[in-house]
């Protein structure tokens, strides 16, 4: 005689290993993979911190995203311990997971015991649809999307690099974008500055960019700074941002930004472009090198093409800017290996990339010191570069 559903589950529970919530609690943040197999709406009501979400219906097709190795320890839970027992049997018998357990009593017992839970911010139905492709990535998921929505990113420049970065970060749902640019849209910008339009010629870039961002994603709050960064406004502008994206066209601002961001411990996703080539790196204060560790001094004018107008292939800031935008998203959601301590060089004509190691300079005039000891007067200081530029015409 075939067993009833309840009898079947009881039988399955004899065939798998079970674990008490108190033991699971001891294993939090211990490298053990905890998988919630409940439905999406149950997960949204709250779940165990750090758990991965793979519904029982998607178990076979998506478990490898959460637990790639068959020999790693995997703990499954559901609401009461039945669905997770069935899922554990599948992982053990059909998929060959060697060390899989089902949590007894499920999330209900976990909560009754008073253990901590994560309750995700509620997204609207429209947001769930808009960001649905992110939810399907284990590296982003709903937690990552919430981090993106909470993130504040400052873009220095709404020009060549800033255009694609602003558009894609807005599309990704970065909640707050700050834009610093004192320029107005010019016809010669439109060969590469894709956030602006022909109709927008003559309008401030921050306004033109804000309009495009809101057209793309009304979730994004835009803070506009129609100014140039200088020693007197930089601390006020950058404070409170989680990440700064730098693509400024001159060395004085690069050094000023470096020193201020080290002081405030804000990571900078930095890039420079020229002709057919670009360089990208992430300067994370006190975690990796800073810009001064890499380049303690700016070059003289004849080796500093930023002094005048130079050619740039229109698509290049797109390619390089999107590499920057990718690093920003990785930093926010905590995925992958950021370009900290590495400089990526992209050569469009060669279609090649080269990665160089950059190291912290133990004698760095800025980041070898306590951030509180860096004074206003020191920021951005180096031999008088503007005089060099003026001399070069």
């Amino acid at each position: 005689m075939t067993p009833s559903g309840a009898e079947f589950i009881k039988q399955v529970k004899h065939e798998i290993d079970e674990i008490d919530p108190s033991d699971v609690h001891d294993l939090l943040n211990n490298g053990v993979v905890i998988v919630d197999v409940r439905e999406g709406d149950e997960w949204d009501q709250g779940h165990i911190p750090g758990a991965k979400h793979v519904t029982r219906g998607h178990l076979e097709s998506r478990i490898e995203g959460a637990a790639p190795d068959r020999d790693q320890r995997v703990i499954l839970y559901c609401a009461s311990g039945n669905r997770s027992a069935l899922a554990a049997k599948t992982l053990k018998d059909d998929l060959g997971y060697e060390h899989v357990e089902s949590m007894t009593g499920g999330y209900t017992l976990w909560k009754d015991r008073g253990y901590e839970v994560d309750v995700p911010k509620r997204l609207t139905a429209e947001q769930r649809e808009r960001y649905s492709r992110h939810f399907l990535l284990n590296e982003v998921g709903q937690d990552g999307q919430n981090k993106l929505l909470d993130a504040k990113v400052l873009l220095l420049g709404a020009g060549g690099l800033g255009s694609p970065i602003a558009l894609y970060l807005a599309a990704a749902g970065v909640g707050t974008l700050g834009l610093v640019d004192d320029d107005v849209v010019d016809l010669s910008n439109l060969q590469r500055q894709v956030i602006h339009t022909t109709a927008g010629i003559g309008t401030p870039k921050v306004d033109s960019a804000e309009e495009a961002i809101h057209d793309l994603n009304p979730d994004v709050k835009v803070n506009k700074y129609q100014t140039r960064l200088n020693a007197s406004n930089i601390m006020e502008i950058i404070e409170g941002y989680d990440i700064i994206v730098d693509g400024v066209d001159n060395f004085p601002t690069r050094y000023l930004l470096n020193d201020a961001s080290v002081r405030l411990k804000i990571p900078v996703v930095s890039a420079a472009i020229l002709g057919f080539e670009g360089q990208i790196s992430v300067f994370a204060p006190y975690e990796g090198p800073c810009y001064r560790c890499l380049f303690p001094e700016p070059p003289p004018a004849e080796l500093a093409p930023s002094c005048g107008a130079n050619g740039v292939l229109g698509v290049l800031p797109g390619t390089v800017g999107l590499l920057q935008a990718t690093e920003v998203i990785k930093l926010i959601v905590g995925a992958g290996d950021p370009l900290i301590g590495r400089l990526l060089m992209y050569d469009a004509l060669d279609a090649s990339t080269t990665t160089l190691k950059i190291r912290r300079d133990p004698d760095c005039p800025i980041c070898s010191r306590d951030p509180d000891s860096i004074s206003d007067d020191e920021m951005g200081v180096f031999p008088d570069y503007e005089a060099f530029c003026a001399a070069a015409g």
Binding site: G157, A158, G160, D249, F251, Q279, L303, S306, N310, L356
Partner: protein
């Protein structure tokens, strides 16, 4: 002969080449051979005291020669040197 990758700002000094070769057993010898072939490069790379200018980094494969043995770092024919001056070209 080691390969030397030339950055855009120095290319005009080496006849527009993106990559050149030069011989030498150390980084210093290779770069001096390069400066011998293209005299303008000498002041771009070297300060008056013969050391590398602080605004130029040189990498042997992917490592900064300053964390190796500097200009005395040994170079083999299969190695590639990358000259990297600071770039600030950006967004405007």
């Amino acid at each position: 002969m080691a390969k030397i990758r030339i950055p855009p700002v120095i290319r005009p000094s080496v006849g527009g080449e993106r990559e050149v070769v030069a011989s030498g057993a150390t980084v210093g010898e290779v770069l001096n051979a390069l400066a011998g072939d293209y005299p303008e490069v000498k002041t771009q790379l070297f300060a008056d005291d013969g050391e590398l200018n602080r605004y130029v980094n040189v990498y042997l494969n992917d490592e900064d020669v300053r964390v190796l043995d500097g200009l005395d770092t040994a170079v083999s024919d299969s190695d590639s040197l990358q000259i990297l001056p600071a770039m600030a070209g950006g967004s405007r």
